[in-house]
Symmetry: D2
Subunit: 403 residues, 4 copies
């Protein structure tokens, strides 16, 4: 009698198989189900209408790739115990559990000072408590302190299944073929050497493709001008609401956990705050935006209506920082048009750096294992294209303004 098994249709990989009690317990947990209501790509759907897939779907996909990676490494005689296997699968399922409404777009903004990875840790700790310690090994791996570093590197590293899934999945749902990678080939080329995850020499072209695909998706999709504008507008909405928050202004209140983080939160993520956090998702934020789109504050109304009805700020990218004088001049013009102050106009005319740190492109220590046993950092391999990809500056400066 085989153990209970569940098969889930996935348009990207075909089928995803679940077959362990712990995995089922994670999936049915409300904290996990919440990810169903958080879009993977925040507001990218305003440009790519198919990009409405969820964090839950991405987690399942990364879990699927992890299953394949484990099969592959075990085939190559890497020692992975059944407990470690379950733990590393649990850990990848939970790697994004700390994301809040609109993921990266509102990170650092809605819940000030909290990075999604720290929140993930706190939430997994809480789930571990509820699941009688059955997530302890997953936690150990996730913190990177376990004595088999390759397990952590599969979850978070330059060749982790997280990136392989988000590139594949985001490419699939946006329809942007530039992000297609040979994830199955990369998985087959993974090796463990001295406890570290590496790539076989003959996998270099696939890794080259992977690095370039990420770069292409970065500029073409993740930092598409209209996507950038929409996501910065989200940030400005939160900032504006916090600025004008007043407990008597009933139109600002949302009757959900958002209220707490918009006003009462003191920065300490205790159990009560965590519960609040775990009750929020994109729904609350979008509901609030709908509500605020009718608020008398012109700035708030403009931003919220913009998100709702796709009337986005105009966004431009430059190689140099935007001049303060230019910004000020535009703000003055907008302030005059809308009858608002310069400070208020700064919510509708602003600039910043379009950086890619969230996609972790700064630290590419991929090691290559050669047939003769040598190990080299991929950046040292004689391959000018990889070298160039890794050293290409990926910082631009944006300016957003009212059309």
């Amino acid at each position: 009698m085989p153990p209970k098994r569940k098969i889930i249709n996935d348009p990207v990989y075909g089928f995803i198989t679940l077959n362990h009690p712990l995995i089922f317990d994670i999936l049915s947990h409300p904290y996990y189900q919440r990810l169903r209501r958080i879009h993977q790509m925040a507001l990218a759907q305003l440009v790519y209408p198919g990009a409405v897939h969820t964090r839950l779907h991405h987690s399942l996909g990364a879990y699927h790739l992890m299953c394949n990676a484990v099969i592959e490494l075990k085939y190559k005689d890497v020692d992975i115990t059944p407990e470690e296997e379950t733990a590393v699968k649990a850990a990848i399922l939970l790697h994004d559990i700390g994301h809040g409404p609109f993921s990266h777009a509102l990170e650092h903004s809605l819940v000030a000072g909290a990075h999604h990875e720290e929140l993930s840790m706190q939430i997994i700790h809480e789930m571990n408590r509820q699941l009688d310690g059955r997530l302890q090994l997953a936690l150990d791996i996730f913190t990177g302190n376990y004595h088999k570093p390759f397990l952590y590197q599969l979850i978070s590293g330059q060749l982790d299944v997280d990136r392989m899934d988000y590139l594949s999945r985001d490419s699939f749902f946006t329809g942007v073929s530039e992000g297609v990678i040979g994830y199955d080939r990369i998985l087959k080329m993974l090796v463990v050497h001295n406890g570290q995850l590496m790539i076989e020499e003959k996998g270099i072209y696939s890794v080259e493709k992977f690095l370039i695909a990420r770069r292409q998706m970065y500029w073409q999709v993740y930092l598409h001008k209209a996507v950038l504008a929409a996501e910065k507008m989200l940030v400005k909405i939160i900032e504006r609401v916090k600025t004008i928050y007043n407990t008597n202004d009933i139109q600002l209140q949302t009757n959900c956990a958002l209220d707490y983080f918009l006003n009462g939160f003191n920065g300490v993520m205790n159990k009560a705050a965590l519960d609040m956090f775990c009750s929020m998702d994109d729904t609350d934020m979008m509901f609030a935006i709908k509500r605020w789109s009718k608020h008398p504050d012109v700035v708030l109304q403009t931003l919220c209506d913009g998100i709702l009805n796709r009337r986005l700020l105009k966004c431009q990218l430059h190689d140099e920082p935007i001049d303060e004088g230019t910004l000020h001049a535009i703000r003055q013009k907008v302030a005059g048009q809308l009858g608002i102050s310069i400070e208020e106009a700064a919510f509708l005319v602003f600039s910043g750096e379009a950086v890619n740190t969230i996609y972790k492109m700064d630290d590419e220590h991929i090691n290559v294992l050669f047939k003769d046993g040598q190990v080299k950092n991929i950046a040292q391999v004689y391959n000018p294209l990889i070298h160039q990809t890794l050293s290409t500056p990926v910082k631009k400066f944006y300016i957003c303004q009212l059309k």
Copy 2:
């Protein structure tokens, strides 16, 4: 200088091209942008996690197929004026504009007595007013009274682009290969004869495939037991809220247009009511479910928590109607378990017909044009599989109950 043009990435068809001022005006209208917040497949995502695509995306897809159908028919010397071409494209973009939160799942339930097609008509009338009558020809075609019936049949008929898109798109996003159809081949086989849309003789196998694909998607996806359970739970939530509605019960109120339709609506869809309707989308309903999941009413709480955390009622399909005695016995048991009345238990234990009328499988008058000029209804063509597909009963009976 070519007219303004916009190209949208679509993972299903590659690229969708927009190039007419009227089309741009429709797209940027808030009524249309609202479709971005209504899932095409309601709660099917609880079973198929990829099925989170929107009504807006489906409308765009149907529009794309319409563009191709028009090119094809014009190539075959069918007379279509530039005005008709724009109108029929506008009409297909708007064909689903009357859908409310969770589309079919809550149709007839949230807004009593209103069919989405009538609502579409009313909304298009209103948009036509706002757009200075530029939608008049689209309206004429949409009402089916225009003197070229094939234009209406492209929008709504047995071979319409609506069905071709939803089968292709639902199949794509669920990952269920059984729904794959040869839409491009069917489009190439379309002909107009005596003003009616028909299929060329050599397109019969593609139509056979199309009919079978729809039937397969129907049973495998649209009426999947867990999907059915979830969508019926939505209906029961609305029914329960209406039953216990009390304007003093602040926990039931949602502070959005839902309140109006849950209580104050008198069945007359006047301008004010239409405005209310057009302000609602899935967000409001999901926000309400989150709110109601903490309501003291056990029935409401159970149903809402079930949707939120994927704790669905158990659903079974039978060929015969469910016996009233059986139902009553289960209700009694549930009433005892939860300490509720039999009437209340009926919200958690219920049965009904799983019919497919929403997918319009009952009226399959597809005409085939033979090379010699003959026209035959496809049901009369000697093709036992088509014949069987068309005459196969598609009614089953479901019972849902608390696990």
Copy 3:
């Protein structure tokens, strides 16, 4: 140190993995490499230009599905020893080894009286001898006498991996979406009960799809009128050459093993004849056709030129047998036109049955295992579409004639 492994890119399944010495020995055997030069779909490429894939590619694909089927069944605690696993994989790799030039199209025609499955048996026996008996278990399974019948059924039965691969592959290379099947889902639904291969109850829709896809491919592709014409022309070429064969006619001779089967072969497939057979492939036949296209015999020249330059006979399908009088009249006309005899005209004007026995649609005993342990033949399951598909007559009558 893991065993040697080889990964082959396959556009249909992604990657095919080979990892056993016996499998490598089979692959590198000249008898197997010969399959590289035999098209899977004979002359279907004259209609579907992409359909140029080979028997070798199909064998590899079926092998890949077998690997997955074995993993699946072992997961379900079906007892399969490592020896049986290797043997059943070897057997599927070799299942088509007995095909000659242009596969089914010339079967029974070039080598009179020899069915490809008997030839496969003989060739595997010979390979077994060369490989020191290491194919014995594969042979036992292949002959259907092994005490675990499900192993044979995986190779040749209503749910075998042969059919799953050829439908998937032929559909992929022709671009005909009607043949797409959910092979991965069917594989996941396979079970073994009382030693027999069956399908789980919830796999019924996928099997329904599989049966219908096969039927659609049958009529739309395998028996496409132009494909049928081309393949019957091949048969007529062989018949004509045999009729006029004369050892002094140097233009008829091909200087390869074909000569032997066109003239000297006495019907006894001894070792020498088998060697001859195993040296032939599509190349020889196509080379001969090129040569014969310049032969003075008008009939032979017409047929060969027709294949070479895609000047095919006109083919029509009828529900009733073609009347002898009609045939005779057309032959008379053609005889007059070309200045040939009526007997000669019969090579250019002929009729026959378009039957589907080669695709084994006549004997559909698929057993379904229900959750309660019951087993039913799928034809007895209440599913009108399956019932209809299975009982639909699949015989038509063709007539081919010079244009």
Copy 4:
């Protein structure tokens, strides 16, 4: 009544539509049908079993992309007359008509001194004669002298539909995802400025992807070590046969046009030679290889058996030229082993440059048209990755030797 039209299933693009009498006349011409028997990727199928597609299929695909390019440019008000439209489509259909057996692999070797593009010109001239001058405009465009240079650039230039098709098609049939390009997006970004074909500014990322994809396919597929070995073995077979040719050696003769080019050809491609050339295809060469694999000459036998049964020479790639001393030592060893002379061993042990000139990567003058009307060579655009891709050396040195 629309003009006659034919629709061809293509697994890469869906459907290819043919609808002009001249196009039908080209397709049915024996010179064009011959391309059906020439593999697009020569012997790449020995590594990528799916890569068996033909030159005919590639030509049809390039024709399809040309149709789309023309629609696109006409939409952008580029002046293209109906005659030019037909001519440019005819020209692309015929762009590879001059390929001989195994295309590039045997170019310059079988028919000494003849480049396939010159042969194409001669063959099109001959077809033009047969088609009463209806190919004159196509010829004018093809020679690059027509007064609208963009028409020629669509056929042969850095953004031509030839490259777009071969990358897409080779990637599809090999299953190597690294070659996937956004051909549809590139086509939409094409513009004509001052008569020259250019790309719009916002198409830069797609072009970057295109350049990188070509580079990846080049090293991963086209110059894969085993593919390189096989194709160089073909060249050595021809060289060996020419060396030992003797009209009395009946075993060397093939009884087809090959004989002429192996021995009698004087380098002048007159009408008789051209007829000979146009009667050859892969079949003849493969038939010859089968025949020669039994020839007593050890060198020839070894090489031919190697191709037939996939016993390839071992190939290595180096950054530096292979040392003559090394080569000589290996040759001596092989000569000793096989009992042949050093000169003979040089057919089995040899080195050379793996260059990519056949894929024309050396001259990348792609012009970019900016919104403000400026035109820049893409190499001057500030995009370090493109710059790097273009300037990366693409020369390596191979050595092949008997295993």
